[in-house]
Symmetry: C2
Subunit: 289 residues, 2 copies
């Protein structure tokens, strides 16, 4: 069920990105916006669409926050890959934006993708209730901003020059911002759109986001660059504290498995209806890319 739903979500969001980004024009910044937002697993879009389905929200509405979160995610990757950040040449198996074009285009395309994300959730076609649109914008801004994703990124950078490696608590806090905040926004978007209780999905997403990051750390050790689609072994080479360096490979795998169990339990009130989301949680620690 989950693999087909993920594939379906990816196709839907790609079609919607094509439809909304094509009319922009053909300057390098526009080409780069389309290039950078293409591909990827689309886990965040899936979480939006699946949580929306769970709450009876129409796919025609849910596609807008699904597109928004993929645009924000893409912006963060384009800027993270810049030479002054992680300096990565490869993303999803393809040259990064600043390699294919240049740094100027990468900065601008990332900037415009962020803006586009906010445009998606404030459009009247996103939801008939303007309160829902304003709430989606506000929660997305908080998830992406200086107390969310950017905070995680800034903590990650600060850790590189810190005198002592991060503790488990510190790295958990860092990751809650860096990857957790957007994942939580995505998973709760459906409940937000239905004006339903967001707490169960928020608990699910917090565990899922952390498990996802631990799996990433494990892939950085065990993964194959060609399959993962980006350089591996970078964290270990840089002497960075990761869940694997702190817990060991087996300990990290156990911790991730425990988190997935908790994530699945958090959805008990939804019964069998949430089985695809539970499958998704099991998938994030079993994936090879």
């Amino acid at each position: 069920m989950f693999p087909s739903r993920l594939k379906e979500s990816a196709a839907m969001v790609q079609a919607h990105l094509d439809a909304t980004l094509s009319p922009l024009g053909n300057l390098p910044v526009h080409e780069a916006m389309r290039y950078a937002s293409a591909g990827g697993k689309r886990l965040r879009a899936f979480l939006v669409l699946e949580s929306a389905r769970l709450h009876g929200v129409a796919p025609d509405n849910a596609i807008w926050p699904a597109t928004a979160i993929e645009a924000i995610h893409a912006y963060s990757l384009v800027h993270d890959d810049l030479p002054c950040m992680d300096d990565d040449d490869l993303r999803r198996g393809l040259p990064t934006v600043h390699v294919k074009w240049d740094e100027t285009t990468a900065v601008l395309a990332g900037d415009a993708l962020q803006t586009f994300g906010f445009e998606c959730v404030s459009r009247p076609d996103c939801h008939p209730d303007p309160l829902v649109r304003a709430d989606l914008v506000l929660s997305l801004a908080r998830a992406a901003g200086a107390k969310g994703m950017v905070l995680g990124q800034a903590l990650d950078i600060a850790a590189e020059t810190a005198a002592t490696p991060l503790s488990l608590d510190e790295i958990t806090h860092l990751q809650a911002g860096k990857t957790g905040a957007l994942i939580t926004w995505a998973a709760t978007a459906g409940a937000c759109m239905a004006r339903a209780d967001m707490a169960p999905l928020a608990r699910y997403a917090a565990d899922l986001g952390l498990a996802f990051q631990i799996a990433d750390d494990i892939l950085d050790i065990e993964g194959d660059a060609a399959t993962v689609g980006k350089a591996v072994g970078k964290d270990a080479d840089a002497g960075k504290a990761t869940f694997v360096s702190l817990l060991g490979l087996d300990g990290a795998k156990r911790h991730a498995a425990d988190l997935v169990t908790d994530a699945c339990d958090a959805l008990s009130s939804y019964g069998d209806e949430a089985e695809t989301l539970r499958e998704a949680a099991r998938f994030v620690i079993a994936r090879d890319s």
Copy 2:
């Protein structure tokens, strides 16, 4: 009247930026966000607050879009100053963010300032009507994004390597995006918040924005770096087409003066109440910084 209102707007928005950005933390990215959003003429904040006053919108509400537009403006300056963009060392007479900190911090601080701008206008304290909040977000996203400010910036970059210099129409189109879109958003914000007709303020702002840019081109020729607060003579040195290179110094001044007359005329329906906005239009072509 206008100078005191401008000063008052600047003080209000600075106090509000201090109150909203201080709690963020003290990582370099947070310090840089405060540093980059401090100072400046605050013309955009003034336009929001004055158009709000004209429509009887409470200052406690209007301060949020005023803060938002200054945050978005600050983000654009931080990224524009980067080595891969305009490579400027000086802004408002002080070292630019990437000089004072580093490029990483400048990219992240700009990113987070953009996000913060959208947070400001989606907060319930910005306006009691969620439709107004959602509309402010949507119009701000359109003004700042790949068909607005970023488009202007991208056209400016494309012009640097173009075989022929830009025509007057092309440079007008470029500037309508690069500086005009945010100025128009600011000037129409008050009408948007009152759900009133935005057309007169939009016409005023289109003329004002263009006059502002022509004045900038003139300052680049006639200005003094210490007073202007940034490097001057860069456009001429780079052989860039500007309003001055296309119209001559006198022609550019006449064009700017005509635009200011049109801007003032656009506000006739407001009568004397709009006199401060008319003064603002006269000011933008008389300023020395």
